[in-house]
């Protein structure tokens, strides 16, 4: 569904992403892992059209979308969410979701009813009339998901939806994501919470210092020495191995 080929981007002299390649098959949940500053969010911004890549291409449903404006990409059915979630203050929860729904439903009545449905599906039925600014972090994360879903997008790029949540909230979101996937959506998600990635993603890519260093099933990746070193530092893999044997 999504084919990213040899994406590169540098800011000034700093190479943020070099030669990143990844594939997301329809109906899958793919993780994008990596330590802080590895270039994950930069990758997302390029895929979603917020910044133009220096090199490389992005294809979505077989169509070249490299360098297309974000709103055009969204209209094609791919949407990104943000790590720092900011609901539109001054609007209710339902109106917030409707902003997404307006993409394909120009009439307010229709958009609002789509918003209500989406909200209910994500367990927000009780807070639809509340001001969005009154939501907790967990509520905001859900709202971000709901807004994205309401656009009718089929591929969702989630930027750390679990960050800042407590374990019980994480398992709720994990359940919701699984449910949405079963309804026919595809996910590419940046995630730090390994437990969530392990239980959700079939495949994951690991980005370190702007380069893809590994990909495969998450359970194998955590045993990959290069991945361990990327997270824990040079030599960590051997030390872990030794500690394990001792």
């Amino acid at each position: 569904m999504l084919e990213v080929r040899n994406l590169s981007k540098s800011f000034g002299g700093l190479k943020a992403v070099t030669d990143a390649t990844l594939d997301v098959a329809e109906g899958s949940i793919v993780g994008l892992l990596g330590p802080n500053g590895a270039g994950k969010t930069t990758c997302f911004t390029m895929i979603a059209g917020f910044t133009k890549p220096d090199e490389g291409s992005v294809r979505f449903k077989g169509q070249d979308i490299t360098g297309l404006a974000p709103h055009r990409i969204c209209a094609l059915g791919m949407i990104r969410t943000f790590q720092i979630v900011q609901p539109f203050a001054g609007l209710t929860v339902q109106e917030n979701i409707a902003v997404g729904a307006y993409l394909h439903h120009h009439n307010r009545h229709e958009a609002m009813s789509v918003a209500r449905d989406v909200g209910k599906r994500l367990g927000m039925g009780g807070m639809l009339d509340r001001p969005a600014s009154s939501l907790t972090i967990a509520g905001r994360k859900r709202l971000e998901l709901a807004r994205a879903l309401a656009t009718g997008a089929k591929l969702l790029l989630l930027d750390e939806v679990m960050a800042g949540l407590i374990p019980s909230e994480i398992s709720e979101i994990v359940g919701i994501i699984r449910q949405i996937r079963d309804e026919g959506h595809t996910f590419l998600m940046i995630e730090h919470v390994m437990q969530a990635v392990m239980s959700l993603a079939e495949t994951a890519y690991v980005l370190n210092q702007g380069k893809m260093i590994a990909h495969g099933p998450p359970r194998e990746l955590v045993r990959d020495p290069s991945v361990v070193e990327a997270y824990l530092g040079h030599g960590a893999a051997t030390r872990l191995q030794e500690a394990h044997h001792a």
């Binding site: 709103h71 969204c74 001054g90 902003v99 993409l103």
Partner: protein, 326 residues
């Protein structure tokens, strides 16, 4: 679905009661003064579209007001076009000027203070142009021929003028409400709150902002044309002047930016205050602006949502909504 608080309903009712009361006022002064306030309320409503809903604070809305007034006046005076066509042309010219300024400013991503300054500069450029060219009457301005009658959009009877203005104001408010509860309005608010999130949700933010400027321009041009038909005379220092730009933004901010009633309430309130001050200190031109400024500072500090927001806290209904939703 929209649950307004008792306070907000009371505030709106008070404004309506005042506007009706003017018909029965003992002194014609009230009507004359309210007529002026209503014209200003329309430019305030124009500012409210971009500044209130879109979060794009313009400091040069006189550019739109003046363009509407001059477009109509030039057509009527120089080309003998009918007042009705001039009226429509003024609105269109305002919209075109709004779209032009918006297209330029947003093309280069100007926002915040930069946008405020560039709009101000546009108003100044237009002011200097209008005071320099012959076809705009240069420094002496343009004067319409006095010829009362419906065909010329001039009315000898103040009551007729006042009623017509009330209809126009009601229409602009109705349009504002339509915008607020439409797809476009939701998009505009989304742009104000978080432009990146808006883009991610499929909103062409550039287009939305330029459209907002065009609509604001149409309202602004309308206000300018109303001014022209009322006074039958315009000159560049007034219609392109900073006073208009200031009044355009101060009413909505005090009344409640991004609300339907805010611009009207703010403008009426300020003008009543200014008028009161004029009676206490008769020979003090500009004193009203001093008062406006003091009220503005206090409002910024103590009434972040303006009068409508304040009223929203009084007797708010149980289904508590974000304040400022009137």
């Amino acid at each position: 679905m929209k649950s307004q608080s008792i306070g907000q309903i009371a505030l709106a009712a008070a404004a309506v009661a005042y506007l009706i009361g003017v018909y029965f006022a003992s002194s014609p002064v009230w009507m004359g003064f309210t007529i002026n306030a209503l014209v200003i309320a329309v430019i305030a409503m124009s500012w409210n579209i971009t500044g209130g809903f879109g979060g794009l604070s313009s400091f040069g809305h006189a550019a739109l007001f003046g363009t509407g007034a001059y477009a109509s006046a030039v057509l009527q005076v120089n080309y003998g076009v009918s007042a009705w066509i001039g009226f429509a042309a003024g609105i269109l010219a305002g919209a075109a000027m709004g779209a032009f300024i918006g297209a330029l400013a947003f093309r280069y991503g100007l926002r915040g203070s930069y946008f405020a300054l560039v709009t101000l500069a546009f108003a100044e450029v237009l002011r200097i142009c209008a005071s320099s060219f012959a076809f705009t009457g240069g420094g002496s301005g343009l004067q319409l021929k006095l010829a009362p009658g419906l065909a010329n959009l001039q009315f000898a009877d103040r009551t007729v003028v006042y009623t017509a203005l009330l209809v126009v104001v009601a229409a602009v408010m109705a349009l504002t409400a339509l915008i607020k509860y439409s797809r476009f309005g939701a998009y505009l608010i989304a742009v104000r709150e978080n432009e990146d999130a808006a883009r991610a949700l499929g909103i062409d933010t550039y287009r939305i902002k330029v459209q907002a400027m065009a609509i604001s321009g149409a309202f602004g041009g309308l206000a300018g044309v109303l001014y022209l038909q009322l006074w039958l005379f315009i000159d560049s220092t007034v219609v392109y002047g900073s006073g208009i730009s200031i009044e355009a933004l101060i009413g909505p901010i005090i009344g409640g930016a991004g609300t339907v009633w805010g611009p009207l309430l703010g403008t009426l309130g300020l003008h009543l205050l200014g008028e009161g001050a004029k009676h206490l200190l008769p020979n003090a031109p500009g004193l009203n602006f001093v008062l406006y400024a003091v009220v503005l500072i206090c409002a910024l500090r103590f009434l972040p949502q303006g009068l409508v927001g304040l009223a929203g806290k009084i007797g708010a209904s149980k289904k508590k909504k974000e304040s400022g939703d009137a």
